[in-house]
Symmetry: C2
Subunit: 510 residues, 2 copies
């Protein structure tokens, strides 16, 4: 091979000058910088991977914005910098970044680090492919298809289904809204919404905020998202859904879609899919299930009942970058339809990219299903992870995370000064910390006003110490409470105990 | 630090059993797999970086889909696989992937590999941040701001401007459409499009297909995208734009936006921005400039005249992952407005994420400007690259690419059997190859039908040989022609000669 590609014209010739540029040599040869890349990667593995996941190291090294600006020297200048200085910058960047793979990062739904998906990510970054055509991304087109088929099998679709990975659950939910309305009225694609009746979609008050963003972005309007009440556990109340559908019909609007959530962001609640599917069937509504967070439970024989009925959905969003630690982003959007609805809804048939006279089967050029042009092969890192640990390995991680969440809930109930919002069904554990000074106080308005200030103060202290990160929020009428997210496969029960001990230590003087 | 975080409760205790799971140890400790990560990274650097950019290695190792499926063994199974097998899979994946960083990959607008942005990408993947809040992404929030400010300076906005990075130029163009209509009629966000008159936007027939996709996705409708004719070089004709605007007004529709393109996808054409801006001013239309591909010319004192007038745009899309080799994706969307339009247009004010009682300046929580929730810090890799080579280094790369494109054009005109479509202004070189058998033929319909088949056949041969990759397409009434994209900083004039020699070698028997 080396010889056949080594043509005589690669031999250096006399210099050619065009526009004042000498064109003979390269401006940069990656090989001459190979040593720099090796040094940087070695530093990254040590600082961000090894130390970044070490329980004895800090989760974050807090600096306020103005101070951090000075440290980082953000200004971009005319001249470049030597390798030694760039390496120092890499070190600083890692140092002052939050270690989201650290076992004690409980702040978000993408906590934890997996070595296999990490390696998959390095492969993606070094091969730098775009997923639109088989021609430029042969391996990644095929792995996306394999991952989607397997995920759809767990959704419960056997011979059915189509899908695509998107850059975020929010965008997956947008896909759902667009496919649902196109399915109802294909003319919308060409004619737009100004030519059709007012469309209305339904979702619970506990749903992710991206449903509202989708309605705004897609021209439906946020007021045409009808919020359905949830019960005290955060699950959509089917009777309330039916009421809202009837209300929309009475108004002369056109109800077209229900968004059900499997694993809400704050409480980790699962909407009752079977009952919602019945209502959708009666009223001919598209059922989309936002299982971005809760979809992982499908892999667990013990917990998949949480999504009972999901196979009746018309579309499903499921993010393996959350509970399954595939790394940001890794977001599947899947439709039950297998007649090419996804492609018809989004295609633009660009002739410069999707040429119809290629020498291979052009059904493998899947890019026209997408609203993107260039698209990263996010599914690949999940494919490699799945290959490495198998379905059973993924199942074990899900079971372990939920078991740890339950252990934490029991500990919260057992300990003085902690109060659980509700028994967790999934991996969100919501609770208040009550400092000693408030433990004897009656539960008045004043009590809850004081409690409301506790979580922000403890959060500030834990970040400045760097010992852990855990989220808090108000919710409905409730005062600020902690929301612990349990994901990382590095966690054991001692880490759950640590969280409670640490909160008590940080907040007992409040 | 190590001591202060090393609490006694991390000491192993008796096993706890919950839901049939023992909770004491971790399921997986990344440290125990550290050796695997090191081995994999070493393999990736060698195979994908060192060999992947070696001019003496193949650009691609072609396999047809069915064959590649067998080789890769795509099926995901219940059991996992040992490290040795996963390493072998990594090797296969790299082997059969297209080397888009190879100097002889001329197929797409993101060719080439830069060592500094590559290192930035490794840092992003190992720290795995999401950009919505300062709390979880302090460094990356600040570097995004620094990069946007610098890019806006090159657009020509001094004290003005706001922006965000998005996962793709297509999505940036969608942002533009949404902000433009919101600016025209803020009620749309809440009320939706069914309550407003028919909106119409204008773009040249040469624009990227994402403008049409945006109109469909955002509920405007593809028929409300009025195509404006271009001249023979692919530039929008201002008089034709004005005609279309008057047509829409005469129809009683509501014209709201013009999309101008700086660097069209196929021909690399630049629309005349100043003349278009005049028309927008007259008719009160939002001017968006899709400079995803051509924006890089702003960094070149020699070539920035191509975008003369861009500072008059209301919004600009510019992808540093194209000409500036920042790696997929790296896409800035910028608006000239500095009154918070971007935020008002997209915000949903999720209280669990954008809490208003945080202990730092919450203006640094920029996530509510976005249509995404989780968002990768794509700007960071470009920041690191810019730090390493400086503005002058970036400028040199742009100048060199354009100079090489011109050299190639001269060679095409000099050589028998090659015909240039037009003199390049930028880094797209479009040309036909005419095999010896057709060189004497009169330029009849039959001649062009035969020419139409030449590029696909040569493309097939070059891919099966693996010697290079270069795109082709039909365009308007023109028969299939090659489109060579010149980006990689590894290129010299010998590589340009190589392309022509190789095409001749592959096609001379046709």
């Amino acid at each position: 091979m080396r010889e056949s590609l080594c043509h005589s014209n690669l031999v250096k010739r006399d210099a050619v000058l065009v526009n004042g540029m000498y064109l003979n040599g390269p401006t940069l040869d990656i090989k001459t910088t190979y040593k720099f890349v090796e040094d940087a990667v070695s530093l990254i593995l040590d600082e961000a991977v090894r130390k970044g996941t070490d329980i004895l190291e800090k989760v974050c090294e807090w600096q306020p914005p103005e101070k951090l600006k000075e440290i980082l020297d953000l200004e971009l200048r005319e001249g470049g910098e030597p390798h030694s200085k760039i390496l120092k910058r890499c070190q600083d960047v890692i140092r002052y970044s939050v270690k989201t793979g650290h076992p004690h990062f409980f702040n978000q739904l993408y906590a934890g680090m997996d070595p296999y998906s990490l390696v998959g990510r390095f492969i993606i970054e070094t091969t730098n492919p775009s997923l639109y055509t088989y021609e430029v991304a042969p391996v990644f087109v095929l792995t996306e298809d394999a991952v989607l088929r397997k995920m759809m099998e767990f959704v419960g679709w056997q011979e059915e289904g189509d899908g695509i990975f998107s850059p975020g659950g929010s965008i997956s939910n947008m896909y759902a809204v667009n496919v649902a309305r196109y399915h109802r009225c294909p003319d919308i694609k060409e004619q737009g919404l100004s030519a059709v009746p007012r469309l209305v979609l339904f979702t619970s008050q506990e749903c992710h905020y991206s449903v509202t963003k989708a309605a705004a972005f897609l021209g439906i309007g946020t007021k045409n998202v009808y919020a359905v009440s949830s019960d005290e556990r955060g699950k959509m109340i089917p009777a309330e859904l039916e009421k809202q559908v009837l209300r929309a019909k009475a108004e002369g609007a056109c109800p077209f879609m229900v968004n059900a959530t499997s694993g809400t962001t704050v409480l980790g609640a699962f909407d009752p899919l079977d009952e919602i599917a019945n209502i959708c069937q009666t009223h001919n509504l598209w059922l989309h299930v936002d299982a971005c967070w809760g979809g992982a439970a499908l892999l667990s024989r013990r917990h998949r009942h949480l999504l009972k009925g999901i196979q009746r959905a018309n579309s499903v969003a499921w993010n393996p970058h959350k509970m399954l630690t595939a790394g940001l982003q890794c977001c599947a959007f899947m439709v039950r339809d297998k007649t090419g609805l996804l492609q018809r809804c989004h295609s633009a048939r660009a002739s410069y990219l999707f040429q119809q006279d290629k020498f291979y089967d052009m059904n493998y050029d899947t890019g026209d299903k997408s609203i993107q042009c260039s698209r990263k092969p996010d599914s690949f890192k999940f494919w490699l992870l799945w290959k490495a640990v198998g379905t059973y390995g993924l199942e074990e991680r899900v079971n372990k995370a939920i078991a740890l969440a339950r252990y934490l809930a029991v500990e919260i109930q057992r300990r003085e000064g902690f109060r659980l919002l509700m028994e967790p069904e999934y991996a969100n554990v919501c609770f208040w910390y009550i400092p000693p000074s408030l433990r004897k106080m009656p539960e008045s308005k004043e009590f809850w006003e004081k409690i409301h200030n506790v979580a922000p103060l403890i959060k500030e202290r834990m970040m400045k110490k760097g010992s852990m990160m855990i989220g808090y929020q108000p919710h409905g009428g409730r005062a600020n409470f902690f929301r612990q997210i349990v994901i990382s496969p590095q966690l054991g029960r001692a880490d759950m105990d640590f969280v409670l001990d640490e909160i008590d230590k940080l907040g007992k003087d409040l």
